[in-house]
């Protein structure tokens, strides 16, 4: 995607809360923040699933771990975003390091199953944390404190912080994908045996990629805890992992905007359909089916094709 399009999208994203405010529809600002946060989480998953070719079915563990870091810290009176958000990233990254160090020794279906197993293990551990509400979770009294006159309690301010995080994550992701590291990770996805045979310790590169994705997803988790002012074990439950996977596949594997498009389409569809039927997931499923059948490269792939610039080599 080119620079002009990036700027137009950014301008729309910046203008959105102002328009919503003018129309007195502040609910949509909160909803849009949710989309931005899921976009961050899905983008982090795209890093391993799309670029790295590692089909992880346990990404909710990092999302939930980040959220619980903020929640638990708040229970103990630590409210500063400058402490709890980096903490969420570090804890999730460490968790990804441990989980990755075990899971990345397996391949294919085994990798999918063992990442799922780890995430479910985390889910049950959190479920058993009676000190932190067990299955009830934790109600946060307030959002994290940033200071410098930035008040996250204001939904519009919070939206802009989420937007800032998403833009930063997308930029970092693009740099990373186009740098030496991204070149290695994508080549491992194409032909791991050969990467080994030309001298790359592929396991280590995959692990680093896994840890980065885990850390970024932890930050998304910290944001979602703030957005809903509530954390509970469901954040770590497998449907969240599945939803993130659907977002990435729907949006476009190994496309920079894949996670963003997927998060937007999935959450928007859900919001659009759910007032009319309790079977909203069924219709979302049908949409997904159509996309997978007719647009194997996801919506981002479809857009690239329409723009007639389908690159020979996807590098974001």
């Amino acid at each position: 995607m080119n620079r002009t399009l990036n700027l137009v999208l950014l301008a729309i994203a910046i203008a959105f809360p102002l328009v919503a405010q003018a129309l007195d529809e502040l609910f949509y600002v909160s909803f849009a923040s949710r989309i931005l946060i899921y976009a961050v989480a899905a983008t982090s998953l795209n890093l391993i699933l799309g670029y790295g070719g590692m089909v992880s079915f346990g990404h909710a563990a990092f999302f939930g771990a980040g959220a619980y870091c903020v929640g638990i810290a708040m229970v103990h009176g630590v409210t500063s975003a400058w402490i709890t958000w980096p903490l969420a990233m570090v804890v999730s990254a460490l968790l990804a390091w441990v989980i990755g160090a075990v899971c990345l020794r397996t391949r294919g279906v085994y990798f999918i199953m063992i990442t799922l197993a780890f995430a479910q293990m985390m889910y049950y551990i959190v479920l058993g944390l009676k000190a932190y509400g067990g299955e009830e979770g934790i109600n946060l009294l307030n959002r994290s404190v940033i200071g410098f006159g930035v008040d996250l309690k204001n939904d519009v301010t919070f939206y802009y912080v989420c937007l800032g995080v998403l833009v930063a994550v997308l930029y970092l992701c693009q740099r990373l994908v186009r740098a030496r590291f991204g070149n290695v990770v994508q080549a491992i996805r194409e032909n791991e045996t050969r990467m080994d045979a030309i001298g790359f310790p592929t396991f280590q590169y995959k692990l680093v990629c896994f840890v980065i994705a885990g850390g970024v997803c932890g930050l998304a988790g910290a944001l979602i805890a703030n957005q809903t002012k509530f954390v509970n074990p469901n954040l770590l439950h497998w449907p969240v992992s599945g939803e993130l996977m659907i977002m990435v596949i729907l949006g476009g594997l190994a496309y920079l905007y894949g996670g963003v498009i997927g998060a937007f389409v999935l959450l928007f569809l859900d919001e659009l359909i759910s007032p009319y039927t309790i079977f909203s997931k069924l219709y979302v499923g049908l949409v997904l089916l159509v996309i997978v059948l007719f647009a194997p490269h996801g919506i981002a792939g479809l857009i690239e094709k329409w723009r007639g610039t389908l690159p020979r080599k996807k590098d974001g």
Binding site: L176, R180, I198, G199, F200, K313
Partner: protein, 252 residues
């Protein structure tokens, strides 16, 4: 003869009841092309898999450049200077020729834990990759997506990827597999020229090529090396003739 760069001692591999590699002992000295021949199913590729680290040996040892590498992982062997090419072409089919080779150049040039600088701006990597593409006869084809190359060209790239790691010793597993006579003729001087800078373990079915290229030949039959010697000695050996050459038509 010079001190060997690669020394294989009593290497053994069993798959259930089948002894795929049976106490194989041989060496490769610097600057030689050592050919490994044998009928189908003799265990040539299994042996290469063990030398490259893809398959663990059950017994025996592998020494390379003075160090024991018997249990070393593949990527470390490559970094130590022992590289291989594959019998079944294993390239990055969605990448261009130059992007394929850049990966191998990147592997031995500094860290790849670099997250910021675009790789396209590292012109030194690309210059070197283009030079290697030229060396293996792919000049002018650098920007072609490798999956679209002709079979012979893909084989050249296959060898190019192994050579791009700058190995002391390179193991070429049937580099001419599936090549027509013309394509083979292009590959022969390429392999012959490697002698100047590195040693080669050549596994090849094309006997004509083997006898033209090899300084020494080892004959592998049913997992055992039955004879090692100069091409003339191998051709004259009754044992080899009985076990192997006699069964197939030998040209030259």
């Amino acid at each position: 003869m010079a001190k060997p760069v690669l020394e294989v001692l009593g290497l053994t591999k069993r798959f259930g009841g089948l002894v795929a590699t049976d106490a194989v002992t041989f060496d490769v000295v610097p600057g030689e092309i050592h050919a490994l021949i044998g009928p189908n199913g003799a265990g040539k590729t299994t042996l290469v898999h063990q030398l490259s680290g893809a398959v663990a040996a059950d017994a025996g040892s592998i020494r390379f450049n003075g160090a024991d590498i018997t249990v070393m992982p593949t990527h470390d062997r490559v970094r130590a200077g022992l590289a291989r090419s594959y019998q079944i072409t294993s390239i990055f089919r969605r990448l261009t020729v130059v992007d394929n080779i850049v990966l191998a150049v990147q592997a031995r040039n500094g860290t790849s834990l670099s997250f910021w600088r675009p790789i396209k701006s590292e012109s030194a990597l690309y210059d070197e990759a283009r030079a290697i593409a030229k060396d293996v006869g792919l000049a002018g084809r650098e920007e072609i997506v490798s999956g679209f190359l002709a079979h012979g060209e893909q084989r050249q790239l296959e060898v190019g990827l192994a050579l791009a790691t700058k190995p002391l010793c390179v193991m070429l597993d049937e580099p001419m597999a599936g090549m027509g006579p013309e394509e083979s003729e292009r590959m022969i001087p390429l392999i012959s020229g490697l002698r100047a800078t590195r040693s080669v373990l050549l596994i090849e079915h094309d006997m004509d090529a083997v006898f033209r290229l090899a300084d020494r030949i080892s004959v592998l039959v049913s997992g055992r090396i039955i004879s090692t010697g100069t091409p003339a000695a191998i051709r004259a050996s009754d044992e080899v003739r009985r076990a192997y050459l006699g069964d197939e038509t030998v040209h030259g």
